[in-house]
Subunit: 219 residues, 2 copies
């Protein structure tokens, strides 16, 4: 479902955020991506979401070469197939929690609104749907971010530190959601610094200085 | 060093983010504040920093009633005495990492610049000082946030989830810095969801629904 072929991402100034990375992830796998701060994890996820383009190499998601899509096609592909939980949230500050989640949906029918409310409710956010992001706690913001990424039931879930701001109980609930997604056959790539969370996945990829240094299987 | 006397913070709409909280922390104590998402931890820190005012009760820091300071006095007090590591970072997006840290300093002498560079270097950020926040990874941003809060060597350190985005090695280095601050007699109030981190402090305060439900000592 996910394939990187000798992918590099070099920033102006010469920083090699990713350096010749090759990776193949089958449909339905749950993979944890780990590594030190600055090792290229967020960069990797942004390339898989089509938000960023590699400096070299190819990025294929569900058989599609993201580099060959024009901006409209990329936006449609991203919305239909991929859910990205951003490390930095990236909300629209003047829209409510519910509106931010519904931004991910194509139409805004009654059914869509119900779906958006349902996932917010599952994440314990039912009584905060009309708050602006600035009126939410850090962990509440993170949960809205998760809801937005998952509301369309994407085939590929990219999660960038999805539990960094969460307490134990919310973290456990988020892990239950991921376990359900896994049982439904979704492909999950989860960046985390938390070794316990990392161990829940079927396998782990370790990055360091923009390179994959280790791939191991824990299932 | 820190005293809250029956403090409440009610938001428009009636949400009681803090509800009749009384707390006394001695100079030189290291206290962990823990509790579920939405329990009022960030609200508590914002009141102690003078960024927010209580709806009821008094907030005293180093003997000063923050509610009696005018905006200029509050800004000066905050800059000289308190270092707040924000959960949400709050950088100036068009200033570099170094400039964001130096914003916390009064003058911008050569000595000040050296101090800013020194703390960034201690946090492993020496080769990222001229990056904008958008050109930094999540963990790099968090470390700049820590540098900004500590560069003035404040008497009172308020840390809101200071290691949420950090890998093990960086987390350990940040904990070393806090241990040194503690040995220097600084007062530390640290919000964290991480029980291991919470245990490093001398005592723990547990919040739930805006109230203190438990205070216990672990030293
Ligand atoms: N401006 C606001 N208007 C209304 N409610 C608010 C506002 N700001 C925060 N809240 C609410 O106040 C409560 C406490 O928020 P706070 O940020 O203090 O929680 P927290 O304990 O830091 O949580 P977390 O662990 O998720 O960071 C939350 O339920 C939040 O929704
Ligand atoms: N626009 C940019 N220009 C220059 N360098 C950048 C830019 N964006 C990111 N970087 C650098 O690329 C490196 C990789 O960043 P990335 O965000 O992928 O790291 P990460 O593994 O997600 O780290 P963390 O665990 O701290 O979130 C970092 O060292 C960062 O400073
Ligand atoms: Mg990252
Ligand atoms: Mg908070």
């Amino acid at each position: 479902a996910i394939r990187l072929e000798n992918v590099s991402r070099v920033y102006p100034g010469g920083i090699r955020a990713l350096d010749g990375v090759s990776l193949h992830i089958e449909q339905g796998e749950w993979v944890a991506v780990m590594g030190p701060s600055g090792s290229g994890k967020t960069t990797l996820l942004n390339l898989l979401d089509g938000l960023d383009k590699p400096t070299a190499g190819r990025v294929l998601v569900l058989g599609t070469d993201l580099g060959r899509l024009d901006p409209d096609e990329a936006a449609t592909f991203r919305r239909e197939k991929i859910g990205l939980i951003f490390q930095g949230f990236h909300f629209v500050p003047y829209l409510t929690a519910l509106e931010n989640v519904m931004l991910a949906q194509y139409y805004h029918s009654i059914v869509d609104k119900k779906q958006a409310c349902a996932i917010l409710e599952r994440l314990g956010m039912a009584d905060r749907t009309h708050h602006l992001p600035s009126q939410l706690s850090g962990g509440e913001q993170q949960r809205v971010c998760i809801a937005r990424a998952l509301v369309n039931e994407p085939q590929v879930v990219l999660a960038d530190e999805p539990t960094g701001n969460l307490d134990e109980r919310n973290e456990a609930e988020v892990m239950n959601i991921f376990r359900d997604l896994h049982l439904e056959g979704k492909t999950i790539l989860m960046v985390t610094h938390n070794h316990d969370i990392g161990r829940r996945s079927g396998s782990q990829v370790l990055l360091n200085h923009g390179r994959i240094v280790r791939q191991r299987f824990t299932a």
